[in-house]
């Protein structure tokens, strides 16, 4: 159950693009066509699904405070271990980014081998995945939110990857359509994309209530809504009467 909860939470509520603005550079640069957006989105899901669990292992067994106690086998009584005092967490940036850079290189080689057409269309943006904030951000959030198990880390990686995928495909579809509409000249391109993303983010905020579940607040809101509806009805009647008077 908690796996499912984390999965949906990382897709909708903590959406990489709309809630934390990660990976905006490639999100803006590659979202002109749906087909390339799908390619890049899939690559991001793949890389996140691999790097987040890998970095979780690094974090738990090497970087965290007291993480090195397994070295001399004192797992039951970690205080007695010679490695108890080590805290290497200041190295996490460098280790995480090194893991990511290697994994991205691997993905690049695989894509080039099996799908040259995708490789051509993504062009210079594949190396950009290495410096895509979404990838490093996934690992850093995994660390700062203290995700407890390896399985949860995998689910978190896949979930936030899918969230990013959804966002870039959605904006690419909108940008394909918006080419035919009459946008003010200075807003065309970058400006309107920002504003649309902002509006989409407001939409995604409504997912915030998905996991809270409480029914009491909702009931109160509903009574309020009923009251407001009654009021608006009364006002509309008044307006109608006034109109009749004016017409007479």
């Amino acid at each position: 159950m908690e796996y499912l909860e984390l999965f949906f939470k990382s897709i909708f509520m903590d959406n990489m693009v709309f809630a934390t603005f990660l990976g905006m550079c490639s999100y803006l640069a590659v979202s002109k066509k749906v087909s390339t957006a799908v390619g890049l989105g899939a690559a991001v899901v793949f890389v996140l699904a691999i790097t987040v669990p890998l970095n979780w292992l690094l974090d738990t067994y090497i970087l965290k405070a007291h993480a090195l106690v397994w070295l001399d086998g004192n797992l039951r009584t970690p205080e007695l271990s010679a490695y108890y005092d080590y805290d290497l967490s200041f190295l996490s940036f460098i280790l995480f980014i090194a893991t990511i850079a290697t994994m991205v290189q691997l993905v690049e080689i695989i894509v080039e081998k099996f799908s040259p057409s995708l490789y051509n269309s993504l062009g210079i943006f594949l190396p950009l995945i290495a410096v895509n904030c979404a990838i490093l951000g996934g690992s850093l959030f995994m660390q700062s939110r203290e995700i407890p198990t390896f399985g949860m880390a995998t689910v978190y990686g896949i979930g936030s990857g899918i969230g990013w995928f959804l966002a870039i495909v959605a904006i690419a579809a909108i940008r394909e359509k918006i080419r035919y509409s009459n946008v003010p000249a200075p807003l065309r391109g970058l400006g309107i994309t920002f504003i649309i993303t902002g509006l989409m983010a407001i939409g995604f905020m409504s997912f915030g209530g998905m996991l809270t579940g409480g029914s009491k607040k909702k009931a109160k809101k509903e009574t309020k809504i009923v009251k407001i509806e009654k009021k608006t009805d009364a006002i509309q009647k008044k307006i109608a009467k006034n109109n009749e008077k004016v017409n007479q």
Partner: protein, 223 residues
């Protein structure tokens, strides 16, 4: 200009407006949006990026002839990561609360596209002094946009700026404070727009900034 020739001065001046990294080159947007709810955080972020970008540019430029082009991305990442670790440790030591608000976004300076973009596009092909100036200029251009967006978001969202309103005027929005009573603009029925503090408004404010800039400078328009 003494120290700076005209060409060198352009390196600093251009990225401020006409070739701004955020609004024109579309680099470094992630962090620009995430930490602009407070002006203080935005300023600290701008200074950190300036430190990393200027020094990193010099380092990469010094090594530009010995870096094999196949592994240059990894070398660039390591240089950036080392500098960011310094920034992170300094912030944790001297401004702990601030480093908590910035949280992962200090680490994300490593993958800030401005850093990689300038390393790749400028430092690999230019002398250390010119790279240093380019780093300063681009970080300043980034900082300007950050400060503009954060200024509007904090002012309209909390009615305060850097805590100054509280300190000097007794109330977030002008006027003599009488305890328990509304004053200044608040007495006239003004209310803070809490929506400005939420993440979507950062995008919309930045969109408006781009709109204003492009209508002032028609050369930048896209079709």
């Amino acid at each position: 200009m003494g120290l700076l020739t005209k060409k060198d001065a352009a390196l600093i001046k251009d990225p401020l407006f006409d070739n701004n990294p955020i609004t024109v080159q579309v680099l470094g947007i992630c962090s620009a949006l995430a930490i602009t709810a407070k002006l203080e955080a935005a300023i600290v972020m701008a200074i950190s990026v300036m430190f990393v970008l200027a020094l990193g540019n010099v380092v990469i430029s010094l090594m530009r002839n010995i870096i094999p082009s196949k592994i240059r991305i990894i070398v660039q990442l390591v240089v950036a990561a080392a500098l960011v670790i310094i920034v992170d440790l300094v912030l944790k030591a001297y401004a702990y609360n601030l480093s908590k608000t910035l949280s992962v976004f200090v680490g994300l300076i490593i993958t800030n596209c401005i850093i990689m973009g300038r390393f790749e596009a400028f430092a690999l092909a230019n002398s250390p002094w010119r790279s240093f100036l380019d780093g300063l200029g681009n970080a300043a251009g980034y900082g300007i946009i950050l400060v503009i967006v954060a200024f509007f978001r904090e002012l309209l969202g909390t009615g305060d700026l850097l805590g100054l309103g509280q300190k000097f005027m007794g109330h977030p929005l002008l006027g003599n404070p009488i305890p328990g009573e509304m004053s200044g603009l608040y007495a006239l029925g003004y209310e803070n727009n809490g929506f400005m503090l939420l993440s979507p408004m950062a995008l919309i404010v930045l969109g408006i900034v781009i709109w204003v800039q492009r209508s002032k400078n028609p050369k930048l328009k896209e079709d």
